[in-house]
């Protein structure tokens, strides 16, 4: 029984000018069960992690991360991005079972 994919949260800076390098910050709630932890009755809790994160901008992949159990619960992922024009980010988180969570954010470049 895989943990539910939590609500993603994304933060983009405001007042972005063309050519600025911004930091895109994302967070999703998820236990990231390592598969080595035991519950109170001593049974191994099965592995259940988010293993892939993909960021696209106007449909083009700009950044990807493969996660292992050594990533903390509620994975925080931040990456640099060069803002050239306004557009739409789409973020996807995929767990071991193949379930996806997605989130869209508009980048406004002034």
């Amino acid at each position: 029984m895989a943990a539910p994919m939590g609500q993603p949260r994304v933060r983009l800076p405001s007042n972005v000018k063309a050519g600025d390098i911004i930091e895109v910050r994302t967070l999703i709630s998820h236990p990231m069960e390592t598969g080595t932890r035991r519950d109170s009755s001593g049974n191994l809790v099965p592995r259940d992690i988010i293993k892939t994160f993909i960021a696209t901008f106007d449909g083009q992949e700009v950044f990807r991360m493969d996660l292992h159990p050594a990533i903390s619960a509620n994975p925080y992922i931040a990456f640099a991005f060069k803002a050239e024009k306004s557009g739409t980010f789409e973020f996807t988180w995929i767990n071991d079972a193949g379930t996806r969570a997605t989130s869209k954010s508009e980048l406004k470049v002034g």
Binding site: I21, M65, A70, S72
Partner: protein
């Protein structure tokens, strides 16, 4: 004669002590030996290619009170243009039960090769980063983190 002997022995002792200090203070080269599991995990991702030192900055706290969530930022010196960019960055924790931590796939659209996340460290150890450049060259960097309470669900 005795006196001369004593002096030379003292000189020798000081000399030895000085050498030991020098070795302790010298930074550990990034290519210093790693655990066999880490070597195997690296080989799986990049094969047996030559690793150069430099270009990688690993920002980690020197002491982590809680190994369950250790902030990590890795930056690689690169112009991040279509002709010259960082293709991938792999992170390993040398003494975790499984050394693989994360692999990042980067693109020139990022403008700067810099990513951050939070990682679990089971004990005091070195965190190692390998950067794969678009020309195929590879760089390695490492940084020690002292962990007070381990964070691998043990």
């Amino acid at each position: 004669m005795d006196r001369k002997l004593a002096l030379s022995r003292r000189t020798a002792l000081f000399g030895t002590a000085g050498a030991v200090v020098a070795i302790t203070l010298a930074p550990k080269p990034a290519s210093a030996s790693l655990q066999p599991a880490t070597e195997a995990a690296m080989k799986k991702l990049i094969g047996e290619k030559k690793l150069s030192e430099g270009r990688i900055t690993l920002r980690l706290p020197p002491i982590a009170e809680n190994g369950n969530t250790v902030p990590l930022t890795v930056a690689v010196e690169s112009p991040m243009t279509a002709a010259d960019y960082v293709k991938a960055v792999h992170i390993f924790a040398d003494r975790n039960p499984t050394p693989d931590v994360a692999s990042f796939t980067l693109t020139p659209a990022m403008g700067r090769a810099e990513v951050s996340t939070r990682i679990r460290l089971g004990q005091t150890q070195d965190v190692v980063a390998i950067a794969e450049m678009s020309d195929g060259s590879l760089f390695i960097g490492r940084q020690e983190v002292k962990v007070t309470i381990g964070g691998c669900g043990g």
